[in-house]
Symmetry: D2
Subunit: 317 residues, 4 copies
Amino acid sequence: MADANVTELEELLAAPPVPTRRPTVPALEEQLYKVHPVLDHGFVRVVDYMGDDAAIVQAARVSYGKGTKSARNDRGLIRYLMRHRHTTPFEMCELKLHVKLPIFVARQWIRHRTANVNEYSARYSILDREFYLPHPDQLAVQSSTNRQGRGEVLDATTSARVLDLLRRDATQAYDTYSELINDDGEGNAVDAEAPQVARELARMNLSLNYYTQWYWKIDLHNLLHFLSLRADAHAQYEIRVYADIIGELTKAWVPHAYEAFDDYRVGGAHFSRAELDVLRALVKGGDPDELLPKTGLSLRERKAFREVLALGKPKRS
Amino acid sequence: MADANVTELEELLAAPPVPTRRPTVPALEEQLYKVHPVLDHGFVRVVDYMGDDAAIVQAARVSYGKGTKSARNDRGLIRYLMRHRHTTPFEMCELKLHVKLPIFVARQWIRHRTANVNEYSARYSILDREFYLPHPDQLAVQSSTNRQGRGEVLDATTSARVLDLLRRDATQAYDTYSELINDDGEGNAVDAEAPQVARELARMNLSLNYYTQWYWKIDLHNLLHFLSLRADAHAQYEIRVYADIIGELTKAWVPHAYEAFDDYRVGGAHFSRAELDVLRALVKGGDPDELLPKTGLSLRERKAFREVLALGKPKRS
Amino acid sequence: MADANVTELEELLAAPPVPTRRPTVPALEEQLYKVHPVLDHGFVRVVDYMGDDAAIVQAARVSYGKGTKSARNDRGLIRYLMRHRHTTPFEMCELKLHVKLPIFVARQWIRHRTANVNEYSARYSILDREFYLPHPDQLAVQSSTNRQGRGEVLDATTSARVLDLLRRDATQAYDTYSELINDDGEGNAVDAEAPQVARELARMNLSLNYYTQWYWKIDLHNLLHFLSLRADAHAQYEIRVYADIIGELTKAWVPHAYEAFDDYRVGGAHFSRAELDVLRALVKGGDPDELLPKTGLSLRERKAFREVLALGKPKRS
Amino acid sequence: MADANVTELEELLAAPPVPTRRPTVPALEEQLYKVHPVLDHGFVRVVDYMGDDAAIVQAARVSYGKGTKSARNDRGLIRYLMRHRHTTPFEMCELKLHVKLPIFVARQWIRHRTANVNEYSARYSILDREFYLPHPDQLAVQSSTNRQGRGEVLDATTSARVLDLLRRDATQAYDTYSELINDDGEGNAVDAEAPQVARELARMNLSLNYYTQWYWKIDLHNLLHFLSLRADAHAQYEIRVYADIIGELTKAWVPHAYEAFDDYRVGGAHFSRAELDVLRALVKGGDPDELLPKTGLSLRERKAFREVLALGKPKRS
């Protein structure tokens, strides 16, 4: 699939560096074009980038004036911007990735509308026989407490059975796809008697675990928003593993911005008006077991509140 | 699938009208909530709308001043805006649709990033056993001239064979999906011994011809752009039939805007600098067979040029 | 300025209601087309709307499935969506406003890129002699603590002097503008000897406190984001008064969504990773005067932290 | 104004190049950070860029498959993409500019909502005493034929008078602004007796010809759209001169894409359905003087049609 591109990227990987006067990040230069494997056949690789931590600061200083220079160092200014949700300076950096991912992951990912995308088209081209099979550790039952998540992992016998079914169906789907396409890879029919069904039709037989790939370009502000949703514990495992590696690459690229994001977004928490009222009483010595039931907070909200503050479970009276 | 919503819409359909002072279009009120079937299991229905032809004019008059009022009637002003690509007044109208469509169509459709979308989630809910099978008239071979299109329709025997394969694989995919989900529709296991595999995992076994559905809301400017790409002869048949019915609904909603769109976009043509040079020579009596080969136009460009001007095929000398 | 439009809107205001089967909000119907004065010459009025609280719920139920129906009432579901930042259902509602506002306010406002805008064009039309003069209560010195804000109000003598200067300069700017335009309002020269300088040139002489107007259309998700930034205490007074009245109109339109927004966004607070660490120690009985200096929090962060938790000032040891 | 930034950029200009393996364009490297003067005090300079012609091709090949490689060279493929409005590969390149421009130009420019912007903020910082005065060659009367344009240039006496008025008002506006701000540039009062009025208030006295500046970042597809509107003969001169220099920089950066844009967009023309009907008759030898009056085309449309085809004026019978 898209071998031409892969070859092209290998060439880029081997090519000697050239001089530039643009902002350049040595730590990301090292990662450029490198394949970072994800899931069983997927990958992420950085194809290009624009800007660095200093570019965020440069844009912020135009907006907020010369005072920002004397007042704070770069790291401090970036943390200030993150804390106060001054988002436009983060839009001044841009990252371009080449990603290979299962179609059902691509369907979630594409909902982030602020990125630029060029996806492999199965109207024009033939997809490879590559489909995703979960690792047994990831084969789990429907969660009983979280309507969109996974619960306990399947036992070995059941997970083997499930993988057999998934493998059988995906294989048969591709066999049919191949028969319909009837193309030897050079455009010639494999079976000279049979027609070459239109690619735009044949592809409908493939299942959602088949791999696709795309170029994906996004600015840093929207990238961090993507990471905050997709590297989150509530995100589906199969997209989270992509977000995790992209998070690592982002950290190499803009370490100050990533640190601020990690401290203020990932590691932070938001409290509602009602929760703030309880908090104020708690820090004055109030008893959560007494205070919480009197608020309008739902059971689920109270549970989350106790967890984030490490309050433990309510005592039975 | 989403029976709750269907019931809700039936109720809306039956409910008596209420008074409003908002711009209202009787012709679209008649279509409100009505199911317009598309393909074998899909549909489009209008769920809400904002604005009308007069709303476009109203916005244009704020931008272009009072002179616009005396100078032109509404239809003339809308045609002027369309001709000169003054697009912002068309953004003042908004349409909301409920659409049921195969996943591979949804994947093309979602590339229009300027719309608002709420799609049925197979992480939370169970998809119905409904998949798309092309009508035999639409089962065609890969086009030999157009890399992304269809050529001749398959003969009856072959198309029956193809449909059997597609049906067999889709059916098996759903059987496996059902077995994994193991849910009687009320949340209880069908097979009490077996696990209920997480929905977010089980869905990966379904093929791209399964139906999904969504609410889709878009402003008129971006809707017309969508129609210009998707109601076009180069669009895949399975999305074009949706665009066609949406075009009809748009015509009922904003007849002046739709007429202008049809005259200036759909029925119009764009010529490049080199083509304009040829055109100027042609209208002075030049011979296309002599002029065209001397330009830098590719064979494909010359062919398209001759077609749009009804010049016929070049004469052999 | 734009008298044609005003007349048109008066007609709409007087016109009898017509029947519709679209979602309709009686409380907002009452506000439709009504002028809500803002500052000395500005206004806001609702020109159209699409959707209501039920439309948010309807979209959410498509996304999150039938379970959402039985599980929660509308208000509860909307609060759940707001709490978990499920933003797309809020995009299903749309509001269209006609706003008259000083140019320097328009320059801040336009930075919200997700709205549709048609602004009065001074290339085509002549601006009225209407400029903003602050109320003496709003004339204040540069804040010494907040680099972007206002400090103490000016004394009566000084504020009278400042208003005189502002009035004098704005008046002279318009006199020059009028002389250059040299148009009696019907297109004829006032001074037959003098030229009518191009409007697109003459307008550059006007100052930033002159009024402009526009139609502004935005979906509810982005409207709430606008309100969270512009109805905030850190926003400049002159845009905040617009945000405040738009907030009131939003409350009339989608009361459940507005209540959830008010509880979770406006009345809520966000804590960073380091602040959460302090919080956990505080609710276990820790002493803020001891704990806070040991964190990496800046003085400004500590001050804000104490304020939101009503901790009072640190005690001197 | 923003001297800190200027100094910073001078340093960047002087800094030695560093090695990168990213796509690099020597012709644009030469332009990097260089000031290109525009109008009397404005400028444009390239601050960063991402991608090149090859990056467009690379993205297109992922979308349209390996066949695109063998079939066409880079230039041909880019022309194909431009002709068929396959816009997403052009979104894979990004340009970042630092621009200084009059506020009334900034107000037009900002309507392009698809860019990232960080503007100098007069809430935080003090604007310089720099305002735009048109060159006498650009001082013209309101066009009598084009409601948004300029007609004949003013005579020398009148234009001297107009410039005097503009200069006088702008100077007075700044004098008042300075008096209100009452800041010696180091934060100290010039007049110790007088207050330092809040910057966010004082700025409202400045006129629309004062200069502002911003960082502006945009992808190539949207940049070409900006150029097609703003480098056009119908655009106001004061924004067109910016678009012209940006066009030159774009040509240095992505020569194939710019050439295709120039041939297909700038030098091309669009014909409506009715105009195509006339065209088909004309190339068959029809007489425009006979054909044109029989169409539904307006006088203005017929005039434009004759011009683009070099048909000359209609003959009087």
